[in-house]
């Protein structure tokens, strides 16, 4: 018994080290976004200057606006399409069920460079000009998968007897859907939407292929800044994105854990 206790302590210490490895680089980034020094990694005291200069940076603000447009529009479309297919997979037996499941996982698993290259070739073949629209189309494709996976997980822990009760009591199928099914799976839909929005806002690789002139999103803007050189403004904008991600993920996770959520992980 004693030996096992010692083993578990070593395991706890080891795990703490891994957490330090996971979080130290991010923490350093955030800390130095408040550093007064512009060029070096020497600490010269606290400042909010870099955040202030972000607020006046038209390139950053413009790209943020693009990112928000893309994130909202593609999430809105993906939520509808993804929820419908999750309902199909969770409630109905139909021909091509396995194929549908496979189709949904492909965009998640195919390397992003391959998908980006394929889409830009496709748009080229259609003689479609690269714009914000092409970025939105690309984002819808991968967001549908994430929404479907999350909503499907929620449906797995779903008590069908509530729907059956509504139908038995004479509610029409559509009314049952609006007043029983939808409220029950709503937390899953919101969680899926938050994740989809987060992924859309963060995407660099696919977007870099399909974004045209004037369709620079925030990650593309950050990337081009990084290529020129590391500046404290990049630290500041990265810190804000980190904060945003943490808030979104925390809410999404909470929502998913609400009963009768499925005990499945979003991995």
């Amino acid at each position: 018994m004693k030996k096992r206790h010692g083993g578990s302590r070593a395991l706890a210490a080891y795990s703490a080290l891994v957490y330090v490895f996971l979080y130290a680089p991010i923490a350093i980034l955030v800390l130095f976004s408040f550093n007064r020094a512009r060029q070096t990694a020497v600490w010269e005291g606290w400042t909010l200057d870099w955040y202030r200069s972000l607020a006046g940076d038209d390139l950053i603000l413009g790209s943020l606006k693009n990112s928000l447009i893309v994130g909202v529009v593609s999430t809105a479309i993906a939520v509808v399409v993804g929820t419908l297919v999750a309902l199909a997979l969770g409630r109905h037996r139909f021909r091509g069920e396995g194929a549908t499941r496979g189709l949904l996982y492909l965009p998640v698993i195919i390397p992003e460079v391959v998908f980006g290259a394929a889409l830009v070739t496709f748009f080229g073949a259609l003689a479609m000009r690269l714009s914000l629209l092409t970025v939105i189309i690309a984002h819808v494709v991968f967001c549908v998968s994430y929404v479907a996976i999350v909503v499907r997980a929620r449906l797995a822990g779903f008590d069908r007897s509530l729907e059956e009760a509504a139908l038995d009591l004479g509610a029409r199928p559509l009314a049952t859907f609006w007043r029983v099914t939808l409220p029950l799976i709503a937390p899953g839909i919101v969680a899926g939407a938050l994740l989809s929005f987060t992924i859309s806002i963060d995407d660099y690789v696919i977007t870099s292929f399909v974004a045209g002139v004037g369709a620079t999103t925030l990650p593309l803007q950050i990337y081009s800044m990084l290529k020129v050189g590391v500046t404290p403004e990049v630290n500041a904008v990265s810190s804000l994105i980190l904060l945003f991600t943490i808030v979104m993920i925390t809410i999404a996770t909470r929502l998913q854990q609400q009963p009768p959520a499925a005990r499945e992980d979003v991995s």
Binding site: Y14, L103, V114, V205, P219, S267
Partner: protein, 300 residues
């Protein structure tokens, strides 16, 4: 259920899945199919596609395989080889580093802390890969934090070139992919029946042999899923090698991007993209076979 209800049920599922098939069929499957066709073509002088006058003659001449033949040139083989070994090293290190912590969260940690510990892995899982890579750029660059520390402690007397080499890329890849290994491992270790481990110990097995002969086989679905989740994106890696490796660490993903964005040779870029895809699909095929046999699936 009556036959009619059953038919209606079936068609309801089909209708609900239809928007997904339209969206993904049009903007995912079709583009991939076009990319595949183009990989057999040739570019013209302006970076477009050279029209083929006589398809039969083109195929018979064997020219349609020119891009794939070109990708076997030693310069490109070297890039593929580097992509593969870096993905293998990343996957192996992630597996070894992740197993104990996943085991700790799933089995050994106090249950009331489990959600917090898991949440701390989930956050980096969803956090921008670009920003997490940039964090290492900030630490490793010549004027960066690590060099400051090394200089201040007198371990070196001039800044080291820590960035733009294979080592920096590996660090970035391992750092980026680590949560993608921990989570599936956790998912399968969480289901571990502790009484089996106790039985093994009670029957006199040494803890090491319990680990190798009971814990690891039971966690195998999570191990396989984690290996896929880390290996596949590592193979197509593009951001980390570009930012932390610079021109010195070109990987297959960078080669594709380069052919599309700079060299303007889409047919060749497409061929390389499909070689990556072929490896990925082969891995997924074996994964599907494996899960069918095990009847347990952590990934999908």
């Amino acid at each position: 259920m009556s036959v009619r209800a059953s038919v209606r049920e079936r068609s309801a599922g089909t209708w609900l899945a239809l928007p997904t098939w339209v969206t993904l069929g049009l903007f995912f499957l079709l583009p991939l199919a076009i990319l595949f066709v183009i990989s057999f073509g040739q570019r013209d002088t302006y970076g477009g596609l050279k029209p083929i006058a006589d398809l039969g003659a083109y195929i018979l001449s064997g020219k349609f395989l020119a891009n794939y033949a070109r990708s076997l040139h030693p310069i490109y083989l070297q890039i593929f080889w580097r992509s593969v070994w870096m993905a293998v090293v990343t996957t192996a290190v992630c597996l070894v580093v992740s197993f104990p912590i996943a085991y700790y969260i799933a089995v050994a940690a106090p249950p009331r802390r489990r959600n917090l510990l898991l949440g701390l892995v989930v956050v980096p899982f969803w956090t921008s890969f670009l920003i997490r890579t940039y964090a290492w750029m900030f630490i490793l660059r010549t004027e960066g934090l690590l060099n400051r520390l090394l200089l201040a402690t007198g371990l070196t007397n001039q800044p080291l070139e820590l960035l733009y080499n294979h080592f920096a890329v590996l660090i970035g890849m391992i750092y980026g992919e680590l949560p993608f290994m921990i989570l599936p491992l956790f998912a399968s270790l969480e289901k571990l029946d502790l009484s089996l481990l106790e039985a093994s110990a009670d029957l006199g097995a040494a803890s090491r042999s319990t680990f190798w002969r009971v814990t690891v086989p039971l966690a195998m679905p999570g191990i396989v899923a984690g290996v896929i989740l880390v290996f596949v994106p590592s193979l197509g890696q593009f951001i980390v090698s570009d930012l932390l490796g610079g021109a010195k660490t070109i990987l297959a993903g960078n080669l594709v991007q380069n052919q599309f964005a700079i060299a303007r040779n889409k047919p060749f870029g497409s061929a390389v993209a499909f070689e990556i895809t072929a490896v990925v699909l082969a891995l997924l095929f074996f994964y599907a076979l494996y899960t069918r046999r095990r009847g347990e699936d952590v990934l999908l």
